[in-house]
């Protein structure tokens, strides 16, 4: 793991030096300094975090190629209590790591992005069945996407023709979601690093009569872990899967209708293996609605339908059909403050996730963020089992 981190830093540094020396145009430096406090909300407060972050971003452009490199310098204090201990175990650390670092080549109809980058697919809000490339860090959900999504090393090619775009993505090394899953004695087993385990996919996007749509295919690994008993021990594994997806958006008056759906072809094609997820269909349908010029509401219906359901061969936590609703209410007084409330509620288990975010713009480039991440519900429900990660956050950020 440490070796891999060193490789990533070296890769970013290489791109930085290469770009800074090869490109004739003047570089554009920007970034931010922020102070943050992320106190835990659930006793015994397993994940308290306080710190300072300096982010430095270098962008250098010329006619054919752009260089983009963004690094975080984190001085971090984490108070980590295990559930049986009273005394906190404080860890202070100083870390430098790349957020993104890539070279971006652009020709008249072709873009090539090479390096560590965020790749997001899909059009719906927060829940994207076709988005299986960039992993999540569910233990670190805050106001900033850079905190809870983890950029991947990838090659991304976009070919533009007319109103259409064909995107091809290769991700050589698999990186899973960070779920905070801790099983004593269980060993994590990542897919072997070999060419046949490269993840790859393509997405065709186009537009017609005001409708934007995409068709996508992804061959990779499940970003969520599976716990499997092997030789009298438990292993945390990531199984291969293929995802065939479709998404669209269409604006009409005060509405923007959005939809996204995917068929997941897992390794258990018959449904008789209780340890591997069955194939399933996962879709989201919803709409943004402008309540006023400053208030937007997004409402979505989410359904996951497990296929090849074989009674007696299913995991006890699995349900044949899981239905949820999600909402995002956003109020924005541009240049002054904004308030967002994001929520997902599972109809069957009654568990939910809530993320209120308040942003106050103190001055140009100086912002205060405050909010909280709540996971709640029964012990074994998807959100209920994450309730230890519930926490508040307060951040002051100066961008330059």
């Amino acid at each position: 793991m440490r070796k891999r981190k060193r490789q990533l830093i070296a890769w970013g540094f290489f791109l930085l030096v290469l770009g800074a020396n090869c490109l004739p145009a003047a570089p554009d430096f920007q970034g931010y300094l922020k102070f943050f406090a992320h106190p835990g909300l659930t006793s015994p407060y397993r994940f308290n975090r306080f710190g300072t972050r300096l982010q430095l971003t270098l962008k250098k452009s010329q006619q054919l190629v752009d260089l983009f490199a963004s690094f975080n310098l984190d001085l971090d204090e984490r108070y980590r209590n295990s559930s049986n201990q009273i005394n906190p175990d404080m860890m202070t650390s100083f870390k430098i790591y790349p957020v993104e670092a890539y070279l971006f080549f652009h020709w008249s109809n072709l873009d090539l992005r090479l390096g560590k980058q965020f790749i997001f697919w899909g059009r719906t809000d927060w829940i994207n069945p076709t988005d299986n490339i960039t992993p999540w860090d569910y233990t670190n959900i805050t106001a900033e996407i850079e905190d809870y999504r983890l950029a991947v090393n990838a090659l991304r090619l976009n070919w533009y023709f007319g109103l259409s775009n064909l995107e091809i993505v290769f991700v050589p090394y698999f990186q899973p979601n960070r779920t905070g899953l801790e099983i004593p004695g269980a060993q994590e087993e990542l897919p072997e690093q070999k060419p046949s385990n490269w993840q790859e996919g393509l997405r065709f996007s186009s537009g017609w009569g005001g409708l934007n749509f995409s068709l996508s295919y992804w061959r990779g690994f499940d970003l969520f872990p599976s716990v499997v008993p092997e030789n009298k021990a438990l292993k945390i594994k990531y199984y291969p899967q293929q995802v065939l997806g479709v998404d669209f958006d269409y604006a009409y008056g005060h509405f923007v209708f959005k939809g996204e759906g995917a068929y997941y072809r897992t390794q258990d094609s018959t449904g008789f293996d209780p340890l591997v997820r069955n194939p399933f269909i996962y879709y989201v349908l919803g709409s943004d609605y402008n309540l006023s010029s400053e208030v937007t509401l997004n409402l979505q219906y989410v359904e996951k339908r497990v296929l090849k359901w074989q009674p007696g061969f299913m995991s006890p936590h699995e349900k044949k059909v899981t239905r949820s609703v999600s909402a995002r209410l956003a109020y924005k007084k541009e240049g002054y403050y904004s308030l967002q409330l994001i929520g997902v509620y599972n109809l069957a288990d009654g568990d939910y996730f809530l993320l209120p975010i308040f942003n106050y713009e103190i001055a140009d480039g100086l912002n205060l963020y405050a909010g909280a991440t709540f996971f709640a519900g029964p012990e074994n429900s998807p959100f209920g089992r994450n309730k230890d990660f519930s926490r508040a956050f307060v951040e002051i950020k100066y961008s330059f």
Binding site: Q30, Y160, A251, G253, N290, G335
Partner: protein, 256 residues
Amino acid sequence: MKQILSLIIIVFLILPLVSQEPTGREIMEKVILKTGWQDMEAEITMTITLRGRQRIRKIKMYSRKRTETESDMVMKFLYPPDVKGTGFLLIEHDQGEDERYLYLPALRRIRRIAASGQGGAFMGSDFSYYDIGKPKLNDWQYKNLGLVKLKGRQCYQIEALPATPQIEKDTGYSRIIHWIDPEKWSALQAEYYDRRGKLWKVLEIKEIQKINEVWFQTHLLMKNVSSGGQSEMKFEKIEINKGLSPQIFTQRYLSR
């Protein structure tokens, strides 16, 4: 007899003048459908003042006429640093809804936004999205209220009323009065009335420049009568008819 003859001569002299008086729509056609430019590039500095607090936004703007009556516009934010890289793309359609997209670099995603709601404040300023875009001629019914003097200049005063209740709802304006300079075919001032008929905003054109034989408003001041705030927009580095690539007006360019 002499008096009757004089009267006839006067009537014959005046009649053509009266009949030549342009209609409100004809005047606004000349203002909105200006010929002579196909595309435009400029840097805009917007200063927003409210209750003694000032906010500055710097924007790079590209605009082009896609057809005689349809335009595209791209705006990219340069300042302040926390919104730098934010992009807005507007693709107008005569038939059907306009397309509006917002790119937020913090989210690394392009988000489609509703085609209506043009009355919303543009980046927290007193200009609405409708004010900064090219007005659609057919959205309004015009009436020429005659020639009036404004700051020593003869101007046509034009009353514009929303053509449909939906336009009124979308823009938030129940009535607009334009003062049009007949020499430059450009507005010098405008008054915007809210949906209750109360004066809401007053636009003053502080500067008009002739660029490539076309008159452009380069310094605008919008005073918000109801809030007491004001927003100032200054255009700099204006370049006309550069032959901007159509690729600028795409989602691809927006996220670059």
